[in-house]
């Protein structure tokens, strides 16, 4: 029977679907590539300033003694400010990638297509709605993973020795997000949340708004509770002490015990960077996976 033969025929190859996604979202694609190119060029330029910037940010002495340069000479170098503020801007941009991605995914990628009926147009072609959604998510996800991941690597390279006086400490929110895999996970979570909002609201503007609000909530929740994502270290000593420069202080208490002043510090040493990155990345990927699964279930339930 023809009907059965057609139904069990091999699936339509996905190349056409991916080309269609690229063609219908060409503006977003071009804009993303432009942003990537600009950010990469900016980071390469910042990297080239690195050595000079570090020379402008070092110990000095007036008059110069013990091999230390004169402070007047060091202060005359201003490139370190350019370097530091450039890195800060890139860090902020990288840690906010989620917001435009979520708004775009909710609005342009899914919401507008359902609102205008072009989604239904695609669903009545030879590809089914679930394959349509898969391509809609997979193509931008691949681009975002490669783009954000690449930028994180270039960012780490541009930061050189990550001198905290120039590049910021590892635990600064923007620095933390922009120097590890968590940046990619934020972008993917934004994409998935946006797609889900688009499918739920089926209209571009509300979906974009809801996706953006959900992303802001997730981003600020994780930023606020980042220090709880991995067990912190506690150091208790009689008298007073100082934590190392790159420790993230969680709690600090000096209270006399039996008349002896005791200082109790709770903190994350720099070695907690990777465990914290992994836990946060895992949480974000779980959010992304849940939102994606919900989007597929919703679409499958709505259609015959």
């Amino acid at each position: 029977m023809t009907a059965l033969g057609t139904a069990t025929a091999p699936a339509v190859p996905p190349g056409g679907l991916v080309r269609t996604v690229a063609r219908t979202h060409r503006t977003a694609l071009v804009l993303t590539l432009l942003v990537l190119a600009t950010a990469t060029a900016a980071l390469a330029w910042l990297h080239s300033l690195g050595d000079e910037a570090r020379a402008g940010n070092r110990a000095c002495a007036t008059p110069p003694t013990d091999g230390l340069p004169s402070c007047a000479a060091v202060e005359a170098i201003t490139v370190d400010e350019t370097y530091a503020s450039g890195l800060a801007v890139i860090a902020t941009v990288l840690s906010w990638v989620m917001f435009p991605v979520a708004a775009w995914a909710g609005g342009a990628l899914v919401g507008r297509e359902l609102e205008s009926g072009t989604a239904q147009l695609a669903w009545t072609q030879s590809v089914g709605p679930l394959r349509w959604l898969a391509a809609k998510l997979a193509a931008p996800a691949a681009l975002l993973t490669a783009g954000t991941g690449g930028l994180v690597l270039v960012n780490v390279w541009a930061r050189g020795d990550s001198n905290p006086n120039l590049a910021g400490d590892w635990y600064y929110p923007d620095v933390f997000v922009s120097t590890g895999p968590v940046a990619v996970a934020y972008a993917l979570a934004g994409l998935a949340l946006g797609a889900l909002a688009g499918l739920v609201w089926r209209r571009a503007l509300p979906a974009a708004g809801v996706a953006l609000a959900a992303s802001l909530l997730l981003h600020s929740l994780l930023e606020r509770h980042r220090e709880d994502l991995w067990p912190s270290v506690t150091r208790t000593e009689a008298g007073s002490f100082e934590l190392p420069r790159s420790a993230l202080q969680v709690a600090w208490a000096d209270s006399p015990v039996n008349g002896v002043p005791v200082t109790r510090a709770t903190f994350h040493p720099e070695s907690h960077f990777w465990p914290l990155q992994y836990v946060e990345t895992g949480l974000l990927l779980a959010v992304a996976a849940t939102a994606t699964a919900a989007a597929f279930v919703l679409l499958a339930r709505r259609l015959p």
Binding site: A3, T6, G16, T24, T118, Q120, A122, V127, L303, P304
Partner: protein
């Protein structure tokens, strides 16, 4: 190959619990190879029925099979043009047709699609957003026909075409359907638009099937009678009767020979449809059963 293009059994669709159902208990069968007019007043459920057949809606009651299978499984073999002709405004006409090729790699016939666009004198490099309503319709039809569908579902396809374009596109559509044996379902509330191009009728009213069957059989089943008022039309099913002074005009489904004193005429499609629309309580007539008057 199944000989049935669409078959619905007790098909119903509700949008929200409080609202009246858009479709309610529809049972009909459309044989393959027909050009079917789907008509009815606004809100009769025409668009809902087409969306159900296209696999874009899930029925809340009953079921529908398309080309012998579920609408979802028949997706590759049917084409659907929605009422407002959704297309990507940022793409060019050529880009839109490329989309058709990419999404239907096993079926796409570029020549058919390009010919329909060329017949309208459209430049393939024009953006969709720059097109008029009628020109968009042409591109949407080109996209649908380029897929070489076995079943073509068209929701108000001719609504925003000028008379010349309407005539030309209808001719293209009919020639294509005749050449390939495509089943076409065309909805419209303009009956005159459908007469002459269709050979099957499905009339919906308030979500129910009022008339279904081959056009000729449906017309043959009705007689327009005129006679003196007060005469009984008893054994016959009266769809609508109007008395003007002593003159009685009625559309009936004769159950046998009409009595003396009546003058009978063959009604036009428009007369049959209008009579049914004016009399919502007239019993439905379904001549589409397997073996019945085909």
């Amino acid at each position: 190959m199944t000989d049935t293009a669409i078959e619905a059994a007790g098909l119903g669709r509700r949008f929200g619990r409080r609202r009246a159902p858009a479709l309610d208990g529809c049972t009909f069968r459309l044989p393959a190879g027909r050009v079917c007019a789907l008509t009815g007043p606004n809100g009769a459920g025409k668009s809902t029925l087409l969306a159900l057949a296209a696999g874009l809606l899930r029925p809340t009651e009953g079921g529908i099979t398309v080309l012998g299978t579920t609408p979802a499984a028949a997706r590759e073999r049917l084409a659907y043009v929605a009422q407002h002709k959704p297309l990507h405004p940022q793409l060019t006409i050529a880009g839109t047709l490329r989309l058709g090729r990419d999404l239907n790699p096993r079926r796409w016939d570029a020549r058919v699609a390009e010919r329909i666009v060329a017949e309208g004198g459209l430049d393939p490099d024009t953006k969709i957003r720059a097109l008029s309503g009628g020109q968009r319709t042409r591109v949407a039809l080109a996209l649908a026909l380029g897929k070489r569908p076995e079943l073509l579902l068209l929701d108000e396809p001719m609504a925003d075409l000028d008379p010349l374009a309407r005539h030309q596109l209808t001719a293209t559509l009919m020639a294509d359907a005749a050449d390939h044996g495509t089943t076409v379902v065309m909805s419209s509330h303009v009956v005159a638009e459908l007469e002459g191009s269709c050979d099957h009728l499905l009339l919906l009213g308030s979500g129910r099937v009022r008339l279904a069957g081959p056009l000729d059989d449906l017309l043959a089943a009705h007689t327009l009678v005129t006679g003196r008022a007060g005469k009984a039309l008893d054994p016959h099913t009266v769809v609508e009767s109007r008395a003007t002074g002593r003159q009685l005009t009625a559309l009936v489904r004769p159950a046998g020979p009409l009595g003396d004193g009546f003058q009978s005429d063959r009604p036009s499609l428009e007369e049959v449809v209008l009579a049914h629309l004016r009399s919502p309580d007239a019993p439905p007539l379904l001549l589409d059963r397997r073996g019945a008057a085909v």
